[in-house]
Amino acid sequence: MANRRLAPASEQPASFAFSPENAEWAKGQIEKYPEGRQASAVIPLLWKAQEQNGGWLPQKAIEAVAAELGMPHIRVLEVATFYTMFALEPVGRFWIQLCGTVPCDSCGARELKGYLQERLGAPGHVSADGNFSWLEVECLGACCNAPMAQINQDYYEDLTPELLGKLMDDLAAGRPVKIGSQVGRTSSEPMGGADTLSDETLFDGSRVGAWRKRFEDQAAKSDDAVGKSEAVSSEQRAASDPKPAKPDSGRAVEEPPTDAPAQLNASGETPVKPGDKADAADPKESTAQPNKPAPSAPETIAEAEAAGAEAGTQSDLPRDEPPPQPVASGASADESSPKPTEPKTPSANAKEI
């Protein structure tokens, strides 16, 4: 929905007044409401004014309705611009309001939109012959027969581009058309015919409720596989997009580290360079735990990470590399930790812990 404005002055009629019979009808509408609540009749009156003016609301009609109901002009304009059912600019002889909300969209409204765009051009413009104009609107409440369109006062349902094209041709030529479903079903009964009471599969659990069993089977079958695939994908995401929750738009760009062990691991390189390991192995260089004799660094990192990953925790031992990104839950030890470069002995791990 785009900004809704009144039609340009060149298209506005110089005046508007209800015809005698419409004025009488309007009086009846106003009388429905108690004294002091006449403004409640604004929608019926606008509707009638639109009908009288060939399907769209000119400025003078809005002012006439405001005067009739004793409302400020802006209050009537608010109502008229709120609803797409009120056309503020001239419409064609047949005004097509195409539903573009989700159910219609998933049943093919997009093709219809493309068709109308191709045949009539941009929405909101009257075709050269004056027959058609169209607009995409929100749900018109006929979702069971999606996709659908409202043309003037009537609904036309179960449309395809071909059916819509034929419908428009018929309307333009003045041939009779069928209101409602265009594929032959009555109102919104099932597509395959009226079998709700006669179809046994609807009641024996083979159709209704079958979805649950399907989900249960699927869940049981894929528990391991899903866990693994999630872990893999989160590992890859962590490597390529290290800060997913904190985008950097709007501030100084901070380059993500390119040599984090997780990234190196993902790109198939050795996570920790042998040179670094050698440096870290030097007890004089180590800043952590100065009182204790530092164990050999490479072993510590590799083994502690493996152990930490098994225990579901991150290693808190000193390291000379930036830490790997936090890994999403569900990752198992195999995928989440960098491959140790040296063979490890599980028993030695256990002892250290």
């Binding site: 900004n3 002009h73 802006i74 304009l77 985008p247 738009s249 709007g250």
Partner: protein
């Protein structure tokens, strides 16, 4: 009273309170945009979400009543959490949505520095955006000469729409379209028709509506702020004068529940540029028919030369509409010592005599008292133009409960429904005689209120009209022991103060009308009276601030200080004594008015007995003790005064009443010097012509 637990503290609040009010009672701060305590509740910004225990989702505390909360399973009081994780997350989420389409304009936005969105984004927002799409762009709208729009910044709180519809009573703004495409606009971008439209920019929590005249001129942190009082009408609204250096940049409202709540009229707000233009910044002396700049010494010498030879009976003194009590007192003392009794302050020629009692010229029920009235008769007044904020109070009263308002005088749109009774004194006589149906309404009311405008008094039969209005008030029981239902609506800020000082002609002396006649006087001292014709013959000394009508007719001009440039006392239409505070110094050689009179008295050989404002006020308070009670109204015997007035008698004439304020925007010299108000005035006149067609 209902018990509630807010963040662990138990509070006891009335059941009709909203959760937001209850939280404030408990001392918890709730952020908000759309909620405003003087407007209806909209509940559309969602910033005030809090966690209510037991509710499935956070609730909008501004729109949720305490009485709608359910107790806990064992009857515990309902519990509200304003600092919980859920509340914090809700606020962050709402703020993120609000900022999605809000431009990053802050460095060039006039609202920067006093912006609710800015402050609350700092306090409750998150530091980064996750929104990668294009922001919404909205066309700018023209909604009048006083409010500039930057509609991209609008967060759709609808405070402006609600203010105009509810408080101002001129529903000119609305929200067209819906959802993301909602836009605030006036009907086809016409100018707003309210005399209070500047307030919508104050109400705007973001920079979408800002004051057009001050666009790109001021930043809030570079202004020195002085609390003061407005003098554009007699209501005496509480204002804050914001000055940069010695230049007044803007005037903003201050809260005073007894007078203006928190609104001010456009005239009050935008007379600011009138304080800079057309100022008298040095003395002038007329020589050979032309005014030439002079020194103070020359000016005083010229006055002394004329005064020496003048007979006190041929000397007069008049004061205008913006004159403070201090200088009126100084002038009165000086004239008294010279033996001059031709004094008058009733510039418009009102038939009011202070001898009748103070209640004969004040608004006796007081402005908050309007809320207790249940029927109002307006005689010869259009309060919307003569006292806008008083009219707001009448409208507020009408919104509280049904109110019968009758109007005798010029037909006008008062912003609330009223019965138009007639145009002139004969309608008043009809009502008094009980011939009119409205007489029944007044009689059956328990607290009827008769408001007489100055328009009904500034005519030869003014006293007779005042008398018949007082008789009517007495007749309908408007003045009782607990209700003062007789009111005179003054239009000039100086008038009540001057009448309190008794600045009226003594026995057998000349009044305003007679003093203005050609040849009536030899010397006339004009203290700021600009709306008066002074005939040929008199030597006119004009002391004032602007090169307006008074200065044009002057032979000597003494430049004085405007209301933002002096500490001065004004008595408002209720009789409430208030003081202005100096926000800056007068331009050039101009001086505070009492000091000019003190210096002049020395030259005239009648030195006034005070050398400082403090000493002047000591004398003043000794002579008029009620002026010492600041911000208070000294009660007077209304019943006795009404009896006196009713006893005056007299035969009212035939002509219809005319309003005392023909042009709302141009009522005094400061307003007439303002370019902004001139534009408003011409716009209002065009609108008036269109409406007449």
């Amino acid at each position: 009273m209902t018990k509630l637990i807010v963040d662990g503290t138990e509070v006891d609040v009335p059941a009709e309170y909203t959760l937001l009010q209850a939280c404030e009672v408990a001392g918890a701060e709730i952020p908000r945009f759309c909620f405003h305590e003087r407007l209806s509740i909209a509940g559309n910004c969602r910033m005030c979400l809090v966690e209510l225990k037991g509710a499935p989702k956070p609730v909008a505390s501004c729109a949720y009543a305490v009485k709608d909360c359910r107790p806990g399973p064992n009857g515990e009081p309902p519990e509200i959490l304003t600092r919980s994780g859920t509340t914090k997350k809700a606020r962050e989420g709402v703020m993120e949505f609000l900022l999605i389409n809000h431009p990053l304009d802050c460095p060039i936005c006039d609202q920067g520095g006093h912006c609710d969105l800015q402050d609350q984004a700092m306090a409750y927002g998150v530091d980064s955006t996750r929104y990668g799409e294009n922001k919404r762009a909205v066309e700018e709208k023209y909604i009048g000469p006083l409010v500039r729009t930057a509609m991209n910044r609008c967060i759709h709180c609808t405070r402006c729409v609600r203010f105009l519809a509810e408080v101002a009573g001129v529903p000119d703004l609305g929200a067209i379209g819906r959802g993301e495409d909602m836009e605030i606009t006036s009907y086809l971008e016409s100018a707003m028709g309210s005399e209070l439209q500047g307030n919508v920019a104050d109400l705007c929590p973001v920079g979408a509506l800002v004051h057009k005249p001050q666009s790109y001129e001021v930043r809030p942190w570079e202004l020195s702020k002085t609390e003061s009082i407005d003098v554009m009408d007699a209501v005496g609204c509480a204002i804050r004068v914001d000055a940069r250096g010695r230049e007044v940049m803007q005037i903003e409202p201050r809260v005073n529940e007894d007078i203006n709540e928190e609104w001010i009229s456009d005239k009050t707000r935008h007379a600011v540029d009138g304080l800079r233009a057309q100022r008298l910044d040095r003395p002038y002396l007329r020589e050979n028919g032309r005014l030439r700049p002079a020194s103070w010494g020359e000016a005083f010498a010229a006055i002394a030369a004329r005064m020496k030879s003048a007979d006190p009976k041929r000397v007069g003194a008049i004061v205008g509409d913006l004159t403070a009590v201090e200088e009126i007192y100084a002038l009165k003392t000086l004239m008294g010592s010279l033996g001059v009794t031709n004094l008058d302050c009733r510039q418009a020629g009102e038939a009011i005599d202070p001898a009748w009692g103070r209640a004969a010229y004040t608004f006796n029920p007081t402005i908050p008292g309007i809320e207790e009235a249940d029927a109002i008769l307006l005689v010869g007044t259009n309060p919307r133009l003569e006292a806008s904020l008083l009219n707001v109070r009448i409208r507020k009263r009408w919104r509280m409960a049904p109110l019968a308002v009758g109007l005798i005088g010029e037909a006008a749109d008062l912003t609330y429904p009223h019965t138009y009774l007639g145009a002139g004194p004969e309608t008043l006589a009809d009502i008094a005689a009980g011939k009119h149906s409205f007489a029944e309404v007044l009689k059956s009311a328990s607290r009827p209120l008769v408001i007489v405008g100055t328009g009904a008094l500034t005519r030869p039969d003014g006293a007779a009209i005042l008398s018949s209005a007082a008789a009517l008030a007495k007749d309908i029981g408007a003045v009782t022991a607990e209700w003062n239902g007789f009111a005179v609506l003054q239009t000039a800020a100086a008038r009540v103060g001057a009448l309190d000082l008794g600045f009226v002609p003594g026995e057998g002396s000349l009044g305003f009308g007679r003093m203005g006649e050609p040849g009536a006087l030899d010397v006339l001292f004009n203290l700021g009276a600009d709306e008066v014709e002074i005939g040929a013959g008199a030597f006119v000394i004009y002391q004032g601030t602007h090169g307006d009508r008074g200065a044009t007719r002057a032979d000597v001009i003494l430049p004085g200080a405007a209301y933002t440039e002096k500490n001065a006392t004004f008595v408002n239409l209720e009789g409430r004594v208030q003081t202005t505070n100096r926000a800056g110094f007068p331009p050039g050689d101009a001086r505070e008015d009492w000091a000019i009179l003190r210096a002049l008295s020395d030259v005239l050989g009648k030195r006034l007995p005070f050398d400082s404002l403090g000493a002047l006020r000591r004398d003043l308070y000794a002579a008029y003790p009620h002026l010492a009670a600041l911000d208070a109204i000294t009660t007077s015997d209304v019943a006795a005064t009404v009896d006196t007035l009713a006893g005056l008698g007299g035969e009212p004439g035939r002509p219809a009443f005319v309003s005392a304020v023909p042009d709302f925007y141009l009522t005094n010299a400061i307003a007439r010097a303002s370019r902004v108000l001139a534009e408003c005035s011409s716009l209002a006149q065009t609108r008036g012509l269109e409406a007449a067609e």
